[in-house]
């Protein structure tokens, strides 16, 4: 036995559930990170796009001659230079436009030696427009005499969704209480700190390298290729560090092919980078919707049916926004046990901005409605029948093993535990009663407490043929591990989680694990960062790859130690005896011995993990995620009835996380997710007037800042998901989904007023309070 292992014993410990530092955090905190926005390539030109700045118009003529004459300008392109190139979910979009359908429409683009020259050149392009009457709401788009927006979509009808289950008429007849409301959910946007950027570079063989912020590099190639007229195989996607995404980069948007076309035609790398105003106007939004929700309930507090009719403003083009009903309907059919479902959604083209995917993906909108209906029932049942509000929720909460009408199989379901934990921790029932009684008393400040919950997919969502992720793992002679994963890092923390999982299996420190995941020519396939899936899917992949590597090492070590591989383990950088932790050999020595022998045995393994979920079909009946999860938020607010200001003082959250992996990353996701929902609930709103955005700046579009953040008490419920890595479930979207209706319910508790149309701005709240006062007196 080698000297350095004599008498050495290493206890079995686990990193799972511990706090692991995000490897990129220190550099980001001190400003040393190089983002794509900072990148400069040799010979690089700067691209700039001329946006229409008007909602609906014919383009009569474009004169680019003055711009072309400007010193330093290499190229000016218009739609004439890019015929027949199509883009978008239903190929209704194009890199450059020959007709204007919305404010952001890309009319021309310039490549120049500097940003300043490109900006000056844009101003020299003369476009003559003939303005056309526009459509500025989904309702108006459906009118018989409405202008036609997209040629191929008569009546302005875009995507349509439907799901029915059970006999609605019978369920209505069997209901004692039927609630019927329209919730109007507004426009908000992602506000990534790093504005949109792409750098395109063609080599002499016609292969494109695109430096991109995309969060789905592999399918991105397929979506980008038709917009360039090249083969997807001729695209290499490199993902430098990105300053946030949150769903905004889950599609190809016109600036990306525009950068590539400029690069193709000039033979030089071209960078397109938005300034903040461009970012506000030309980025996707959250899908706005008018949700007509009807819900039935018996006097015993049993839900009887839910019917939702959703009308969505599609905007001028179809990105991911109008596909959100796929998730909305899972909420309608799965948020508590509801036996009868009737769901319809219709998207209608307009001359407004168009929506993309955004953290919470339709569920932020739908839960704002369903969770308020749950609260309305609880209020009425408590008032008329003396039912405890938590009891009402518990009566309808699903249990493990239940299946929803859409066939979501809730294998491990701890909604009841989330409800009781959050309610007990916040003293919900007592406070709710006290504040209800105080609601009608005189006084300026009113306190309120509100509960909301929701369900979300927590094991990916199989909306593509594969929801999988590839992993390649290698170890070098020094026991350092490199993991090449298909999963992108867009700030969400997969870098820390994969290091932690691999470290757990291989007994090396997390900082000895290097992640390579920013180059589509190197990485294996992954469907992308979305649907709260990365820890679940890529984490499983990394774990399976690491287990393969471990088996290989222990098999080799077993020969040397004269024991079976099952009797060995990897801990603290050593091969050890599993039973007592006695060290057998240092891991790096073992790896070298394996390597430098007549028949080399080098650790290089791979894995492709495909979750056991079912493809989302046209009938929407499938177990489309490998796991589902619930969260409950209880918000405590103070409303200044003189000014309408709502202050959220405390939020108690209980969430089914399956199993905590990186506690620090998990807490950060809870806080960040909550901030998104808080802005949506109280202060964020894109204000449009006839298709034009009136507040394209942080001066006028208000995201919450640190002082607005409430005290947050987190309870992680560990349901131990059988399919998830170590039992973990996906967690990142629920905190954004649940907080807004919790606040709305708390404001109701304080004021007796329901807010069906967020945001609950002081202006809106104050007006409602004044109107109520007048009506009461």
């Amino acid at each position: 036995m080698a000297e350095d292992v004599a008498f050495k014993h290493i206890e079995k410990t686990s990193l799972i559930g511990k706090r692991i530092k995000k490897p990129d955090a220190p550099a980001k905190a001190i400003g040393k990170t190089r983002y794509i926005n900072d990148m400069v390539l040799p010979q690089m030109l700067y691209g700039k796009i001329l946006h229409a700045g008007r909602p609906h118009a014919e383009i009569i003529s474009i004169d680019t001659s003055e711009a072309e004459k400007l010193a330093g300008v290499h190229l000016v392109i218009t739609a004439k230079d890019t015929p027949d190139l199509k883009l978008g979910f239903v190929k209704d979009n194009a890199p450059l436009k020959s007709k204007v359908l919305c404010e952001r429409d890309e009319v021309a683009a310039v490549a120049a030696e500097s940003e300043a020259i490109a900006a000056a050149a844009i101003k020299l392009i003369k476009v003559s427009y003939k303005d056309l009457p526009g459509v500025f709401s989904a309702k108006d788009g459906l009118k018989k005499d409405a202008p036609q927006i997209q040629e191929n979509f008569p009546g302005n009808k875009s995507l349509k969704f439907k799901f029915k289950h059970g006999d609605l008429a019978e369920a209505e007849a069997g209901s004692d209480i039927i609630l019927d409301h329209v919730f109007n959910v507004h426009y908000v946007t992602h506000c990534c700190m790093g504005t949109s950027c792409a750098i395109a570079d063609f080599d002499h063989n016609g292969k494109l390298t695109i430096y991109s912020q995309t969060q789905y590099p592999y399918n991105y190639k397929m979506d980008l290729a038709p917009a360039l007229g090249i083969d997807p195989g001729d695209i290499r996607v490199i993902q430098p560090t990105t300053g946030g995404s949150f769903g905004a980069k889950l599609d190809v948007y016109p600036y990306e092919p525009v950068a590539a076309i400029l690069a193709q035609k000039t033979g030089r790398p071209v960078k397109v980078l938005f300034d903040r105003e461009e970012e506000f106007i030309n980025s996707p939004t959250r899908q706005p919707a008018a949700i007509h929700l009807r819900t039935g309930c018996t006097s015993d507090g049993i839900l009887t049916f839910r019917s939702a009719d959703v009308l969505m403003d599609n905007g001028a083009y179809t990105s991911w926004g109008p596909t959100v009903p796929v998730i909305m309907m899972r909420t309608v059919s799965g948020h508590y046990r509801v036996p009868v479902i009737d769901f319809k959604a219709q998207a209608v083209y307009s001359n407004n901005a168009y929506a993309g995917s955004f953290r919470g993906y339709g569920n932020v909108q739908m839960t704002y409605a369903t969770a308020q209906h749950m609260d309305m029932f609880a209020e009425e049942l408590s008032e008329k029948h003396g039912m405890d509000p938590i009891e009402f929720h518990l009566k309808n909460a699903q249990k493990s093993g239940e299946v929803t009408p859409q066939k979501s199989y809730l294998r491990e379901c701890v909604l009841a535990e989330c409800l009781t934990t959050a309610a007990a921790a916040s003293d919900y029932v007592n406070k709710h009663k006290t504040y209800t009684e105080a609601c009608t008393e005189e006084g300026r400040y009113k306190r309120g407490i509100g509960l909301a919950s929701s369900i979300h997919n927590a094991g990916g969502a199989k909306i593509h043929k594969s929801d999988g992720c590839g992993t390649i793992l290698k170890m070098d002679d020094y026991a350092r591990v490199t993991v090449i994963t298909g999963a992108s890092e867009i700030g969400q923390g997969i870098d820390a989680v994969i290091s932690q999982i691999v470290s757990e299996e291989l007994g090396v420190p997390p900082e000895h694990v290097t992640l390579v995941n920013n180059d589509s020519d190197i990485g294996p396939w992954d469907v992308g960062v979305h649907a709260s899936r990365t820890t679940f899917i890529a984490g499983n992949g990394a774990k399976r790859a690491a287990i393969k590597a471990k088996k290989q090492i222990l098999a080799a070590a077993s020969k040397q130690a004269n024991v079976t591989a099952e009797e060995l383990d990897l801990r603290g950088g050593y091969v050890v005896q599993d039973k007592d932790g006695a060290a057998v050999i240092r891991l790096d020595r073992m790896l070298r011995q394996m390597h430098f022998q007549p028949t080399p045995d080098v650790v290089m393994v791979s894995d492709y993990y495909e979750p056991n979920s079912e493809l989302e079909g046209k009938d929407h009946i499938s177990d489309h995620s490998a796991a589902y999860s619930h969260a409950v938020h209880i918000a405590e607010v103070v409303v200044d009835t003189y000014t309408g200001e709502v202050k959220v003082e405390k939020v108690t959250m209980a969430q089914d996380v399956g199993r905590v992996i990186n506690r620090m990353g998990l807490e950060a996701q809870m806080e960040g997710g909550l901030a998104f929902g808080l802005g949506f609930a109280l202060s964020e709103e894109m204000i449009f007037e006839e298709g034009r955005l009136l507040n394209p700046s942080f001066r006028d579009y208000k995201v919450p800042t640190a002082p607005e953040m409430p005290e947050i008490e987190m309870h992680f419920i560990e349901s131990d998901c059988e399919e998830g890595p170590y039992g973990a479930k996906g967690i990142a979207e629920l905190p954004t989904i649940v907080i807004a209706p919790a606040i709305a319910n708390a404001v109701y508790n304080a004021t007796g007023i329901r807010f069906l149309n967020p945001p609950m701005s002081p202006e809106k709240v104050a007006r409602a309070i004044w109107e109520k006062k007048q009506a009461d007196s």
Binding site: E278, Y642, P762, A766
Partner: protein, 293 residues
């Protein structure tokens, strides 16, 4: 259509007040003076017709922040909001100004932005400007011909427009010694904490016991410039400040203001909360709880 690339300009770095004034005389309205730059650098991105930026960075004699119990407070052109916030003299003698500085933007901006810059910007939302309008003060302006003092009461003409001539450099602001029994306060409402005001108010009251001898009451974001509320001032003058008086004042405020709808709020909302805010700022001055925002 947007292109927010800052235009080219010449950065001029004079080393004395005289040199600065000479540059202003030469470049007149084609120039802008850079002290903190927190407003100017943003403005320069919006096709501002400025070819020359005259920086005060190297000009000595403009960073005086001095309080003399006999003469009052002097604030030099380069004095930042953070300087004001650090001054115990300001905190003790001019609470309205100190409170406005305390909630002004963010620490980073407070370290750069200047008090005089806030005044010269002539925004109806200016927080320090509102406080100083309430306490009263006069600006010392200088050009090649000489110096003149102009009262803040006469300085703001309309949105973004002041009585400063294009060749004049603002040297300093003088705020008088607080009168016997003077109490002042500043309050505002915003959308998020580190934000521009959607409505703000400042008062300066000369109190003798329960009775108010003289009052200056100022509101912001309710007209093209900061406004004084003469009816409210008259109601306060010579009166005992009772809850009934405050209620009456609260009802009168709406007749003195003319707010508009904009991205930050609505006219309806500002009209409704203005009375609440004025009542609150008067109470704050009388109760003198500086940190109770």
């Amino acid at each position: 259509m947007s292109s927010r690339v800052m235009r080219d300009f010449d950065l001029l770095l004079p080393e004395s007040i005289e040199e600065t004034i000479a540059l202003l005389a030469r470049h007149k309205d084609k120039s802008a003076v850079l002290a903190g730059g927190t407003d100017l650098l943003v403005a320069l991105k919006f096709d501002y017709s400025i070819d020359n930026v005259i920086s005060l960075a190297l000009v000595p004699g403009l960073d005086e922040l001095d309080f003399d119990p006999a003469r009052g407070l002097t604030i030099g052109a380069k004095v930042t909001i953070a300087d004001v916030l650090r001054s115990q003299d300001v905190k003790d003698n001019y609470p309205a100004l100190w409170q406005a500085a305390q909630v002004f933007a963010t620490p980073q901006l407070r370290n750069t932005a200047t008090v005089l810059g806030n005044i010269l910007r002539a925004s109806p939302a200016g927080d320090c400007s509102a406080a100083l309008y309430a306490t009263g003060g006069s600006l010392l302006l200088k050009n090649a011909k000489g110096c003149r003092n102009i009262d803040l009461d006469d300085f703001w003409i309309s949105y973004g427009v002041t009585a400063r001539c294009v060749d004049e450099l603002a040297i300093s602001l003088h705020v008088p010694v607080p009168a016997q029994g003077e109490k002042s306060a500043f309050r505002r409402m915003t959308r998020t904490t580190e934000d521009l005001s959607k409505i703000n108010a400042a008062v300066c009251l000369q109190m003798a016991g329960e009775t108010c001898h003289k009052a200056r009451v100022v509101m912001g974001c309710v007209g093209p410039t900061l406004l004084r509320l003469p009816k409210v001032e008259k109601m306060l003058a010579g009166a005992a400040v009772t809850p009934e008086l405050l209620r009456d004042i609260s009802n009168v405020v709406i007749s003195e203001i003319a707010p508009i709808d904009d991205q930050r709020s609505s006219a309806e909302y500002r009209n409704k909360v203005a009375g609440v805010l004025v009542k609150r700022v008067i109470e704050a001055a009388l109760n003198a709880k500086e940190n109770d925002q």
